[in-house]
């Protein structure tokens, strides 16, 4: 696809390096123009590929090369309000390396490192996820817990909202992969901002981290027991908690969402609120899962859950990116939860399986599950 902007880009490269540099200084890369997103690489290469995680598109897409120059480019039709993470695959002299986009300073971090970020018209990084000097900061305490269920010692981090008062009672949200939510989804900023702005009720948030994540979070009854029969009573001893399922929530992303839903299902009547982000809710109607052996415990449990969902919570927020394969499983989950009598709010976004997608959904999810007194309180 050769748009006028791409033609000008190619012409600049043919005029020489200074002309190309001038062109690139005038355009933010990836270039958004004429309805297309154009990725650009300038350098020595035998082949350049776009590597991304958009389900539905080939995971590797080759760039075009402008002969006699160092310019490589690729135009992709990404819908408005999209946000994607990507890398560039560079092949030179038979060696292939995967790099961040040198022309794009926007990065997103996750436990595996960093990716370059591209967004299209209409996407805005939420201002409520950034630092706000007007927000009152909460504090974080550390608690050690000896777990019989998981046979080991665990560390919990507990967020207390600003103006915490021991004489008041607070709802509790237990977050799976809590340290990653802090690090990669700006959870602390989000809580400080949304609580200060009265959009979310003042909450106590317990940040848990797994030992063996793939085992513990895969609908594991030991994990469910740890959270419900060890973590919850410990927190109730330490902090003034609302003594009602409506004041207790579980949250997680990916396998953490499976851990949240399965924990609530295995301990009905305990957890009234669930925030499930891009849940790895793999199931089968017949035959084996194609997602790999690590998903087998999830599939076994999901198939049981689908046959007998019960009512693990009253209110559930479900979100998923449309650019991740799990959109199918998450869309399937929603009517099932609703039929079982749960109130469900479902959001899908043009994003993938990543921490910034999960960050961007937190305002809607947390304010749905734990609404603050925004509408009626003017401080």
């Amino acid at each position: 696809m050769m748009t006028p902007t791409v033609r000008r880009l190619r012409a600049a490269a043919r005029r020489g390096e200074p002309a190309l540099q001038r062109f690139l200084e005038r355009h933010r890369v990836p270039i958004q123009a004429e309805g297309l997103t154009t990725f650009v690489f300038v350098g020595a290469a035998d082949r350049v590929d776009l590597e991304h995680w958009i389900y539905g598109l080939p995971g590797t897409q080759p760039f075009d090369h402008v002969p006699g120059t160092n310019l490589w480019h690729l135009s992709v039709d990404l819908p408005a309000e999209s946000r994607i993470e990507y890398k560039l695959g560079i092949t030179l002299d038979g060696r292939r390396s995967t790099i961040l986009d040198p022309l794009n300073p926007r990065l997103a971090h996750d436990p595996f490192g960093a990716n370059s970020v591209c967004s299209t018209e209409g996407y805005r990084t939420p201002e409520w996820a950034g630092p706000d000097p007007e927000s009152r900061p909460g504090s974080i305490e550390q608690i050690e817990i000896e777990s019989a269920a998981l046979a080991g010692r665990r560390t919990l981090h507990v967020y207390l909202p600003a103006r915490f008062r021991p004489g008041r009672r607070y709802p509790l949200l237990v977050v799976h992969d809590g340290s990653d939510y802090l690090r990669y989804s700006s959870l602390r900023n989000v809580l400080d901002n949304l609580i200060t702005r009265l959009e979310v009720a003042p909450l106590i948030v317990a940040l848990t981290d797994p030992g063996q994540r793939l085992k513990e979070y895969a609908a594991n009854p030991r994990h469910a027991r740890h959270i419900t029969e060890e973590v919850l009573p410990l927190l109730a001893d330490h902090y003034p908690l609302v003594e009602d399922p409506g004041g207790r929530g579980l949250m997680g992303a990916s396998l953490g969402a499976v851990a949240s839903l399965s924990t609530a299902w295995m301990h009905p009547g305990t957890w009234g609120r669930l925030m499930l982000q891009s849940g790895s809710f793999a199931f089968t109607d017949i035959g084996q899962t194609r997602r790999g052996p690590e998903f087998e415990p999830v599939v076994t449990w999901m198939n049981r859950f689908r046959a007998d969902p019960g009512e693990p919570a009253d209110r559930v927020y479900v979100s998923s990116g449309v650019y991740e394969s799990l959109i199918y499983e998450n869309r399937s989950l929603v009517p099932m939860l609703q039929r079982a009598g749960m109130q469900v709010l479902f959001t899908e976004a043009r994003d993938g399986h990543n921490w910034e997608n999960w960050r961007d959904r937190m305002r809607q999810g947390l304010s749905y599950l734990f609404p603050g007194p925004l509408w009626l309180t003017y401080e």
Partner: protein
């Protein structure tokens, strides 16, 4: 100082609840209650920066027309109006929402 924030609204003719960008719901301003009506010529909107999209001319116009003939006066931290009968004075830079959707200096209208 008699009242600020919600207290200022409680003394006005009507108590509004409003937020142009709430995380849930349709974002329509509502009249919650009749106020104590200690003054009529001004309808204060505290926390305007956080709660009102004053760059949205349609919403601003609707709000101004709903409270007319009172003046819709946005109030942020440190801002004030003083009322003495029909005479209104304010901090320097006091503002008023107008029916055409703009935000106008308060002193131009008094």
């Amino acid at each position: 100082l008699i009242a600020w924030s919600a207290g200022a609204m409680a003394l006005a003719r009507r108590v509004f609840v409003y937020h142009d960008n709430p995380p849930q719901g349709p974002a329509n301003a509502e009249v919650l209650e009749t106020g104590l009506e200690r003054y009529r010529s001004v309808q204060p909107f505290p926390h305007a920066k956080r709660r009102l999209r004053l760059d949205d001319q349609v919403r601003t116009s609707v709000l101004a027309r709903r409270v007319a003939p009172a003046d819709a006066v946005p109030l942020d931290e440190g801002e004030w109006v003083a009322l003495d009968g029909d005479r209104v004075t304010s901090h320097q830079g006091g503002r008023r929402l107008t029916a055409d959707g703009s935000v106008t200096p308060l002193e131009q209208l008094r």
